[in-house]
């Protein structure tokens, strides 16, 4: 188990180094960074001074090593547009994105699993058909359109929910949370639905398909022959077997929820990392773009690792194959 975790951790570090190379090369290929910093009429001598002060005249491998050593300590340099350390900017924006992503994922998991199980157990009811229709909409409508439709309905027409921003936030240490104020919670509703709808329909469809598959297996038939209650069979035996693939997908989806929060954050002007990234792209603020790339890959890699370990918690068959690798 430990060896397995270590092996996976080393693979994860390999992935991070590769991403680091890509992030670093952005600086080299997106034009001369000095031009981004100085104004058009800066004399050449001054430009050289800036170049020297940023260490941009060193050989490329040296620059890369320095960049990487700094990145490992979460130092990503200074933003061109804000003139502030990128890590501070990201830290400031991260709670907003993580809260949004967590809310969307919880929403997607809870409703996705409930709807999936229901539509697998009661295949021909009207409610099942309704869920199927909703899931079709969730799968096929683009996120920004759903967000705009929600704003039109609940903010413009009904005036129930705020159309942008995060509402009032409470500061706990360096973390800011919108979960403790009414306006913060109200502001969270529509972005969470917008971001989570796709995941929800995905999970619902997956749970439904897996559940139907599991209900056909011999051990479910044998469980029925043993006279177990329908409840025990459906929720004890069938659901647990259904959850193995659901964990993988839900875990990997959490990564993409954070990464794709960009669109939702733009639609709702949500002050998170995604919005920061969009602004950085518009202003060619490469340090932020590179740091965002590294952050998102770090989150993905970590989630992958956690999912791999979670598998073994759910499925005992994997534990023994991991203990005794072939």
């Amino acid at each position: 188990m430990l060896a397995f975790t270590l092996r996976r951790a080393i693979q994860a570090i390999g992935v991070m180094i590769a991403v680091g190379v890509i992030a670093f090369s952005m600086f080299r290929f997106a034009g001369d960074p000095v031009n981004q910093i100085v104004s058009l009429d800066t004399p050449a001598a001054e430009r050289e001074a800036v170049r020297k002060s940023l260490g941009l005249d060193d050989p490329v491998p040296v620059q890369f090593a320095r960049y990487f050593a700094n990145a490992a300590q979460f130092k990503f340099g200074v933003s061109y547009q804000f003139r502030q350390p990128v890590s501070n900017l990201l830290m400031e924006r991260m709670p907003a994105t993580l809260e949004l992503a967590a809310c969307a994922t919880v929403l997607a998991m809870v409703f996705g699993i409930l709807m999936g199980v229901y539509s697998a157990l009661r295949r021909d009811t009207i409610l099942t058909k309704f869920f199927q229709a909703v899931s079709l909409i969730g799968i096929s409508l683009p996120t920004f359109l759903i967000g705009i439709l929600l704003i039109y309905l609940f903010s413009v027409t009904l005036g129930w929910l705020p159309s942008f921003g995060r509402g009032d936030v409470v500061r706990i240490g360096w973390w800011t949370t919108g979960l403790l104020t009414l306006s913060g919670l109200k502001a969270l509703i529509m972005p969470s639905i917008t971001l989570g709808l796709f995941q929800m329909t995905l999970i619902m469809r997956l749970v439904r398909a897996e559940m139907l598959e599991v209900l056909r297996t011999d051990y479910i038939r044998f469980a029925r022959a043993r006279g177990l209650t329908t409840r025990a069979i459906h929720f004890g035996h069938a659901l647990k077997n259904t959850l193995v693939p659901v964990i993988t997908v839900a875990g990997l989806q959490f990564g993409s929820v954070i990464a794709f929060a960009i669109i939702t954050e733009t639609v709702f002007q949500w002050p998170g990392m995604g919005l920061l990234f969009v602004q950085a792209v518009q202003n060619v603020d490469i340090p932020i773009m590179a740091a965002y790339l590294l952050m998102v890959s770090l989150i993905f890699v970590t989630i992958n690792l956690v999912v791999d370990i979670l598998y073994t918690v759910v499925d005992p068959r994997l534990r023994s194959t991991i203990r005794r690798p072939a």
């Binding site: 051990y219 029925r224 043993r226 006279g227 177990l228 209650t229 759910v314 499925d315």
Partner: protein, 332 residues
């Protein structure tokens, strides 16, 4: 005479398909007494397994029991509401399926699965149920049951898993065990162990056993009586010695003739020409008539009912005492 543990009367099972209604079981009747083992043999698709599933109430739509009655120790069970038949399953009828590798839920320890079943049917505490589970594992021959109870299904061999399945089937002291090809998925040496285990359990607890198989050797070794099924009907039923050594129905004769023996001289084994009709194309009259060497006119129009012939009951016009115009073959 005492009431038989299982009594099936004129059972009919139908499967509704888009085109037509297929009758998988058509007028099957038999009894199993306390402590008796009834072997049910026949080709694939003869209706052996469906009969077993009908008894335990596990025929899923589009299938349904369309006629007849099933009595368990005198009480009718074929028309019970789902919740009541569920209480019968596992409690009064235990079932063993063909494939032990897929019968157990891979994510739960076998102990948890046994305890869950015990506590569904008996009011025992967690600890008492666990103790009973260990005793059951010991009874079905799992070594070191107090340790193995916490193992997962994948940590057992096929034969050991079938023992666990048997422990699950008998954990609430059922009156009847339905074993649906319990040895088909196992290798020969393990087969013998499992068969003797089922036999011993039936003897020790006075449990009636319905043993579904297509292995005549297993039947000959285990059963007291045997029922030969052919396309949804019982062709012949009687004491196992009589049926094996002295089969009367032409189909039963064909089946017994197809068993190779070690002692006998090397002759070509008897083969029944053709194959069993599909459910959608069962011929009128006796469903065996197109393959039967002794068929005569009456067989093609008139469906034979099982008639008592000494210790056997045979569904064949050859043995009908009513005079028929066609010459009969020599019957044993």
């Amino acid at each position: 005479m005492t009431v038989p543990v299982l009594s099936v009367r004129n059972l009919e099972v139908e499967f509704l398909t888009r085109r037509s209604t297929l009758r998988a079981i058509n007028g099957v009747s038999f009894d199993i007494a306390k402590g008796e083992v009834l072997g049910v043999v026949g080709e694939s698709g003869a209706g052996k397994s469906v009969t077993g599933l009908a008894v335990i109430g596990l025929i899923d739509p589009p299938g349904r029991i369309s006629g007849g009655e099933i009595y368990l120790s005198g009480t009718r069970i074929d028309h019970l509401p789902p919740e009541e038949i569920r209480r019968v399953r596992g409690k009064r009828i235990g079932m063993i399926f063909q494939d032990p590798l897929t019968s157990l839920n891979p994510l739960y320890r076998i102990g948890d699965q046994i305890v869950e079943t015990i506590r569904t049917h008996m009011s025992l505490s967690e600890t008492a149920a666990r103790k009973r589970a260990i005793d059951l594992l010991a009874e079905v021959g799992i070594p070191a049951p107090d340790k193995r109870i916490d193992a997962y299904p994948h940590e057992f061999s096929g034969g050991m898993r079938q023992r666990v399945v048997i422990a699950l089937a008998i954990c609430a002291e059922p009156e009847l065990i339905i074993a649906d090809e319990p040895t088909t998925a196992l290798d020969v040496s393990v087969q013998a162990q499992i068969i003797s285990l089922i036999k011993r359990l039936g003897r020790d607890h006075g449990t009636a056993v319905m043993l579904v198989t297509h292995d005549m050797g297993v039947i000959a070794e285990t059963s007291d009586r045997v029922a030969v099924m052919y396309s949804g009907r019982i062709a012949e039923i009687g004491p196992v010695q009589d049926v094996v050594q002295n089969p009367m129905h032409p189909y039963a004769k064909g089946l017994m003739g197809a068993i190779p023996t070690l002692a006998g001289e090397e002759k070509r084994l008897v083969q029944i020409p053709g194959s069993m009709p599909r459910l959608s194309a069962i011929p009128p009259g006796c469903s065996f008539n197109p393959r039967c060497a002794f068929a005569f006119d009456r067989c093609r129009v008139d469906r034979p009912e099982p008639l008592k012939q000494g210790s056997h009951a045979v569904a064949c016009h050859l043995y009908d005492t009513a005079p028929s115009d066609t010459a009969k073959e020599t019957a044993a």
